[in-house]
């Protein structure tokens, strides 16, 4: 069931800087600054995928250190081949799946998604990967399964960051089954058509574009289907600040900062903040998953 979602942001559609500046000047000249829909313009600007350099040098991957530049510096230590993923729990065909075998069976497509970090910055990333639903179907989801739990590799010899207990390692995450089966939810294995670099979660990481970035767990070694809501790392660390759902929501602030706007990575020292969109701009696709839920309570 690949190709269930068509990119709305494409590399070809991205507005070149010069054209964009022209348009802004023209609009400003015609209607005066007060009438210009600044948020729209800012959003149009954000459609351009970030550079390879931005995406691979500015990472949160605490297993390799807490500074943004640490993963790019340290993640080369991680051995990603061979790589096995254990798929277990409520599945028909549990087992240790070889990453190469998975790749042979999956259809790889490009998905250009916004990425919104809980720290109030954002990027646009051209991922390559396959729908998580396809992988779960390969293992056969049993009818009683309601949630999917994920686990990142824990290798103290290859991950200098796990020697300090910033979080309770290994990093774990989880989704409700309907979220996991949603066409937008992918397993990313590439970036800009190349193999995904280690600092971005090689060889295989989750991407859930309507949730804060930390939900998109990296370097996955285990996927477990369960009927109870699985524990998640940041929720265990601070439940008041990080909920199980962690959908991008400008109306529900983080306990320590506002979530109603974001810094756009790659715009330099004078980059304009842009308003954060409900479900990170994917409300049309995913709002239905949460109908009738109080999103301030289930943050």
């Amino acid at each position: 069931m690949a190709y269930r979602w068509k990119n709305t942001l494409t590399r070809d559609d991205a507005t070149p800087e010069a054209v964009f500046m022209n348009r802004r000047q023209i609009i400003a000249g015609l209607s005066g600054a007060a009438l210009v829909g600044l948020p729209d313009i800012a959003r149009a600007q954000a459609l351009e995928p970030n550079s390879w350099e931005d995406i691979t040098s500015y990472n949160n991957y605490y297993e390799f250190g807490t500074r943004k530049e640490d993963p790019a510096r340290n993640a080369h230590m991680l051995t990603t081949s061979p790589w096995k993923v254990r798929i277990d729990g409520m599945v028909d065909r549990p087992g240790d799946y070889d990453f190469a075998d998975i790749m042979a069976k999956m259809t790889i497509e490009e998905r250009i998604y916004r990425l919104r970090c809980v720290e109030a910055w954002s990027m646009v990333v051209p991922w390559n990967g396959f729908e998580l639903a396809d992988l779960l179907r390969m293992a056969g989801v049993k009818p009683q399964a309601k949630y999917v739990a994920f686990e990142t590799a824990l290798r103290p010899d290859e991950m200098p960051g796990v020697n300090s207990r910033v979080l309770d390692w290994p990093y774990v995450e989880g989704l409700r089954l309907d979220e996991a089966m949603h066409p937008l939810t992918i397993m990313a294995t590439g970036l800009y058509g190349k193999d995904i670099p280690n600092q971005n979660g090689a060889p295989m990481r989750l991407v859930v574009p309507w949730k804060y970035g930390f939900k998109s767990i990296k370097s996955i070694v285990r996927i477990t289907l369960t009927d109870t809501q699985p524990p998640t790392s940041w929720n265990k660390s601070n439940a008041r600040e990080y909920g199980f759902y962690s959908n991008v929501n400008p109306n529900v602030p983080h306990r320590r900062w506002s979530q109603d706007s974001e810094r756009v990575v790659g715009g330099g020292l004078f980059a304009k903040r842009v308003p954060t969109q409900m479900f990170n701009g994917y409300a049309d696709e995913v709002a239905g998953l949460y109908e009738g839920m109080n999103l301030a309570k289930f943050y």
Binding site: S57, T66, W234, V265, L269, R273
Partner: protein
């Protein structure tokens, strides 16, 4: 040994600290402009200025214990350290308000609503009278005793600065806690331990 060191130190002009601080701040800004601070330079610059301010706060607090416990005299540099520290706090605040938050209404909202920002602003407020009175005229005007008393606000500012740092990190991070411990340790060294011990002995 210490005497020779102190003689050497007397020959070092204090303005080097101002010059070094300005150069470092300008260099960081230049790095931010030219991509040297990474893909997202706004927060990187904000944090770098904040970190410099914290280091200088610690340096300023270390002057007295170094003299008391090691005999090393850095007193002539203390004003320069303090004023340069204030300069970095101000730069940190400006980068936060102008480049990061970008709207006065949101700046106010953050100061009132976000505890770690409230704490940081309180620290800045404590430093303000110190920066204003860091000149000989003010020392004369306030009198040495009064001036010294006023400048004890540094202790509060240092604690608030370290707490601000502790409060803004995600997860359990050791660096800000070490920082807070150093600040508290430097303050503890100021306690009148001998008088305290004597009081205990005579009691």
């Amino acid at each position: 040994m210490v005497g020779a060191l102190n003689t050497r130190l007397r020959q070092v002009p204090a303005w080097l600290i101002y010059a070094g601080g300005l150069t470092y701040a300008g260099w960081l800004f230049w790095l931010g402009l030219t991509g040297g601070l990474g893909a997202e330079p706004i927060q990187a610059l904000e944090r770098a200025y904040g970190r410099a301010a914290l280091y200088l706060l610690v340096a300023g607090l270390a002057v007295t214990p170094l003299r008391t416990w090691a005999g090393i005299n850095l007193l002539k540099f203390r004003r320069a350290i303090g004023v340069t520290c204030f300069f970095f706090v101000l730069a940190h605040l400006i980068v936060w308000a102008v480049l990061d938050v970008q709207a006065l209404s949101r700046v106010w909202a953050d100061i009132l609503k976000r505890p770690y920002i409230t704490v940081g602003m309180a620290g800045f407020a404590l430093l303000l009278p110190l920066a204003i009175t860091s000149n000989n005229w003010s020392v004369r005007k306030l009198g040495a005793a009064g001036w010294r008393k006023l400048h004890k606000l540094t202790y509060g500012a240092a604690v608030l600065g370290a707490v601000h740092y502790v409060m803004l990190v995600k997860g359990f991070q050791i660096r800000p806690l070490i920082f807070l411990a150093i600040v508290l340790g430097l303050l503890a060294l100021r306690a009148k331990w001998r008088r305290w011990a004597a009081a205990r002995l005579s009691a």
